[in-house]
Structures are given as C-alpha cells and as structure tokens.
Symmetry: C2
Subunit: 134 residues, 2 copies
Amino acid sequence: MIDRRSGRPLYQQLADELRRRILSGELSPGADLPSEKTLEQTSGLGRGAVRRAVAILRNDGRVVCQRGRRSQVRASNPVTTAPVPAAAVVRARMPAPEERARFDLPDGVPVLVVALDHTEQVYPADRVQLQLSP
Amino acid sequence: MIDRRSGRPLYQQLADELRRRILSGELSPGADLPSEKTLEQTSGLGRGAVRRAVAILRNDGRVVCQRGRRSQVRASNPVTTAPVPAAAVVRARMPAPEERARFDLPDGVPVLVVALDHTEQVYPADRVQLQLSP
DNA sequence: TATAATTTGTGCGTATGTATA
DNA sequence: TTATACATACGCACAAATTAT
C-alpha cells in the first residue's frame, strides 16, 4: 500500500507495487492492468500520480498503453537470432523517433547497434538477439 | 515553433524542437537546456507540457535532470570494450531498478545482456560496448 | 446500426517541497 | 539568506479511441 509519510514519492510507490505484481506473475503478460479509476480508488492517489506510475512501467518496457483500452503487461515477441561478424562491435541505446516508427517499437524498448567498418546495422531489441560467431 | 492547429500534441512538438536543437549541435553535450520558465515563455505552453517534453528527452537518454539545477544534454561517457566469448547471445533491455542503482544509470539508458550457458552478464550500455573475444 | 459508457490522452491551473546557485 | 529551478501532488475540463448496450 501507499505510505504518505515514507518520503518516497507516491507515484514511485505505486509503480513499485505494480512492478512487483507483474514480476510475481499476478499480472501475467498480456493481462490488463487495473483501470486508472480503479488504481485511483485502491491507492488513494490522484490521477496524475497514477498516470505517472504507469508511465514508469511503460518507459521500462513492461507495460503497453493504448487510448480507449486498458493498459496491458507487455507480451514478449518471437525472437530471431541475427549473426554478428567477429570484428563487429555491439552497442545498445534508445531508438530515434524514425527508428521507433520503422520498427513499430513501443516505449521502453531499446535497439541493438552492430558497427562494422563505418557501417551500422540497427535491430529492435524486443524481437532480435545477436549471436557472436567467430 | 508550436502550432496549436497541427493536431500533433504540443508537448511532442516541443520535444521535437529540443531534439532537433540537440542533434544540430546548437545544444551540445553538457550544455544547459533553457529553464522550464524560459521554455514556458518561449513556447507559450503551460508548465505541464514543458515538463512532459523534457521527460521525453530524458527517457530517450538525451537529457539528464537534477533538482535545483538546469537540465543538461547528456554527455557521453568513456566507453570500454568488454570481450564476449564465442557462442554467446546478446540482448538489450531497460534495466531493473536494482540494476539502475548498481550502475548509477540515468533514465533512458538500456543494459546489454550477455547470455552463455545459463549465466547472464549485464553491462550498462552508456559505458560498455561488446566485441568478440580474440 | 446507433448510442452510451468506459478508458486513456492532452492541457491547463494551483500549491508546496527540496536542492542548487 | 535569497532567489532560482526542478520535483511532487492535487484538481478540473475536454478530446479521442475503444468497448458495451
């Protein structure tokens, strides 16, 4: 529950609680989160704090939101494995807006960047993993 | 500038503009962003919209914020190259709260996960890149 | 098919707290 | 100490998309 005297921000406390319920499996991938109104009533917080809590989980890649429907626990996609040349270097970062659009990435999903000879290959990290092959 | 008839959310328009100024070099790494009050005045938006715009850039890993100080364009860290054994599989995701604390990661910075034989090694993506071990 | 109810999104305002300069 | 600046928390109204009636 929410402790208004703990010093920890209230929206953080709610985010912590929702994260715990997701990790414990009580809220499984694909499941609906409680509605904002329900969260307001059960937590005693205002709508702003509730929305901020959900935004944290969205930016962590744990929740996806759409207008008009309940927010959901993000379900993992089928993962393909891309080979990486031995001399290549691998980095990760958040996508630029164009990359988000190109890969149709939800919030909170990074990209993998494979650099080799001044060329860069970008992969969406929610669908691709890399295999380093000698 | 902000176009209130474009249909695009106002905070998104401001985020776009700030991103453009960062990418163009007008706001270079380490530089201060304009204060929230200044952004309110120059954009004509309310404080909520201004803070949302900055939050987008923070979650994209482009800006770091601290209470009492101006927000700044994130400066890149020195990058070390970690060796990765052959046959290892590499993924990327946003860090869990414990990982954020352990690596002192700001918002918007993912982690690299190297998996090999049921063991996982986690690296902060703002300081580490991966290369196949020779 | 049309209407209403639900749900999330956008935008504004106010007040107060806390860290920095 | 004072002023500046970002953070937290609440409230309201309306818009837009989905779902239920």
